[in-house]
Point group: C2
Chain length 454, copies 2
């Protein structure tokens, strides 16, 4: 491990440029990704590239979106870029918590958040691009960059504002110090066994029974033992779909369901009670992602059925995660790599989850999210939780072919990524082809009358 001085000397140079692109994939044409609230997602990204005069490496980062609205996040990234371009990399990485605070607390921009929605999605793309750059400069995958830092260096990247009633800096340090002696053995182990994954690719809401059966069968053959099904159209329809899936995967494999925020609180309890006999590990996003007390009520209502409560992919920031964790409202903490403000904020959530003994099971899917979150869970295992029990990363088998270093899942587990960076850099050809609205893929679809622009 290097000291802060050595690292700072390795990252000379200023940020000279921050590029932003609107990249969209026409996934809605095939009902991939359809759920109870998002009928027709076009998996998309506001895609950031950061260049510096101190290194040949580029930092890449994206925030995931589902089509329309990407243009708003692009606008927000442009507004944030003035606070990044011109900064010294050594100043950013040497006081990353301070830089992050400045970025998220800019005295005028914070009004349109604060720290939530469009402006925070944009922050994630920018901040993750900086982490990607840092990891590339250090010639390490992101999880290894983090796992080579001292506990003091890790907490120096975290802004603890608003967290101290749940987790102080000193408590965070202690958690990291307790794990530090075990890091090397855990790195060895996770490289051997990989990180457990579950698949959502079998059971989107728009799929037919035949498709469900076929995809579940294939997933089993590939080694998956954990499966998630989208629910929320109707109890009868969900019973039918869950029967199809349970018939295929049997009763020993893990099965969970996801309602994507469809229901009110009491309705969540009543609805799930009717599905309880399918032996479900969790109900994900039963209601509004902002409703801490609602999730707590649902958790209490469902505990008699052994159904856990999971949420987090649209949890706006660390303050909401804090409340979900400190109140005991969730059984599974589903971090998203680009919904909160990037790696720095995720680290605080992972540490809070450890304190409150809630397993972190990241949100994957979309475009690039699996590539991102594998690093976060692997860091969690090595430096924080030290456990794989009840911990799984979502895996969705879409769009990985567009990445230079796509994630690899073998036999139902993520293989530890070894390429330098955050695994989020897309191929230049893909970026060009899917650029919205004028990339050749979109021009062609328009020409064929398959889409209408608005």
């Amino acid at each position: 491990m290097e000291g802060e001085r050595d690292r700072r000397m390795g990252v000379n140079g200023k940020v000279t440029e921050l590029l932003i692109r609107d990249v969209r994939f026409p996934t809605s044409l095939e009902a991939h990704g359809s759920d109870a609230m998002h009928k027709d997602p076009d998996y998309s990204a506001a895609y950031v590239v950061i260049k510096s005069d101190g290194t040949k490496h580029e930092g890449h980062g994206l925030t995931f979106t589902v089509g329309r609205g990407t243009e708003i996040v692009v606008s927000a990234v442009k507004s944030l870029s003035r606070m990044v371009v011109g900064c010294n990399l050594a100043d950013i990485f040497g006081n990353f918590a301070g830089f992050w605070r400045d970025l998220t607390s800019e005295s005028q921009l914070r009004w349109v958040g604060p720290e939530k929605g469009v402006i925070h999605l944009a922050t994630a793309a920018v901040v993750n691009a900086l982490w990607d750059l840092w990891a590339k400069i250090e010639n390490k995958p992101l999880w290894k960059l983090l796992s080579d830092m001292t506990p003091e260096e890790i907490v120096s990247t975290i802004d603890f504002r608003y967290l101290s009633d749940a987790l102080t800096k000193e408590e965070a340090l202690q958690i990291l110090r307790d794990s530090a002696p075990h890091r090397q053995e855990r790195i060895k182990k996770i490289r051997e066994v990989g990180y457990p994954a579950y698949t959502t690719s079998c059971a989107w809401l728009g799929y037919s029974d035949e498709t469900l059966t076929k995809l579940a069968h294939e997933a089993l053959r590939e080694g998956f033992t954990r499966f998630k099904v989208k629910v929320g159209s109707s109890v009868e329809d969900d019973k039918r779909r869950l029967t199809v899936i349970r018939n295929e995967i049997g009763w020993d494999n893990m099965l969970m369901v996801d309602a994507n925020q469809k229901w009110d609180v009491q309705h969540s309890i009543d609805y799930m009670a009717k599905l309880a006999h399918f032996k479900l590990a969790w109900i994900e996003e039963p209601t509004s992602p902002d409703d801490v007390l609602g999730h707590l009520a649902i958790k209490k209502g469902l505990s008699q059925y052994g159904i856990g409560v999971a949420t987090g992919e649209q949890c706006a920031n660390r303050v909401l995660f804090k409340q979900f964790l400190q109140s005991g409202a969730i059984d599974f903490c589903q971090i998203d790599a680009a919904r909160v403000g990037g790696v720095n904020e995720i680290l605080s959530v992972i540490l809070m989850a450890k304190k409150f003994n809630v397993p972190v099971c990241p949100h994957g899917g979309g475009v690039g999210l699996c590539e991102y979150v594998q690093h976060l869970s692997i860091f969690d295992y090595i430096c924080v939780s030290g456990s794989l029990e009840n911990r799984v990363i979502e895996y969705v088998d879409h769009l990985h072919e567009h990445f230079l270093n796509p994630c690899v899942v073998n036999n139902g587990c993520y293989v530890v990524p070894e390429a330098p960076g955050y695994s989020i850099e897309m191929k230049p050809n893909s970026l060009a082809a899917y650029e919205y609205p004028d990339g050749p893929v979109w021009a062609d679809l328009r020409l064929k009358g398959l889409i209408k622009d608005t």
Copy 2:
């Protein structure tokens, strides 16, 4: 009162156009509006005009911002406009809850919220412009449009999704029915006495002691008996400023303080304990606006000092308001007319506040917020709360001169507005002069070197 059929017949026509402008006032040059988190606000607006082929009236609406970031909200309004232009006004107003649900749940756009931050600020501007248009067509001020509706018509504008564990549609109806027989007497009374106001104009963080004394003295002479002071720079500085103000206003007048989210939870309690002897009615925004459980802890910690807890101006949506109210975390509910998704959502918050017996004290100030919220509090009094006890509307004496029908405060009370609409239409000359970045006011400041654009 008219039935729904009559009202719908009165509003024929389609929305033909939705214009959006970026309007900014260079208030940062004089430290107006400075607080613990916003050092240099340029009071601004994303300003919407809706035109229809069925009426000569235009609907005007704005969302308040503080400078940079307005361009992002403008981008979001453009993205929303495709869902408004072309719609029949009768369809919108005849099923306003449904229209509102469609607007806030658009299957792709909701990802960049949902219902929070930039996209929700944009929603507020659009939705409020529709209400302004409706009120103008009916030739009534907004509060009167609402107060002439039946309980059934009022609830028909509200989306109860995610609220039913705290307030059902039936409970909302009952609250409105209980008050209905008293509406006429209350209209008469509020027109006579006005709605109580408090002033924030005396004590921005950037003001000198001399300015504080002078402005408090003037406010007293104008009839104000309720005052708010910005705090949060340091205990010693706040003690000095509060002493200056208490010396001027005495001990019988109402005094509250506002920290604008500066502190962590325990720090809020410790800090405020040191200011308790100033006899403070409330501490406003002690910590993150997302922290329901944090505010609850602060409320418990401060109850021994008789200091209430207030928040809401940056409360993202009705789901967070629901939790603040149902948990008992706040003593004063500070709605903002353009932070949540416009009048429809505000109505649900006012009704929840009634159920949980928390007085509504709206956030004023900025540009246009006082003009807006007077209508909401007057509606609250006439149709919901029936009480003025512990209820006050913030008043800030800035920028009213730019409105066609500015709010009027006499002797410390808002005078009931009688002009048709939502009082939010700005003068054409003001819109043109302050348009950003190319309006003549900004061009002139740039020429004089008083601002640097970024």
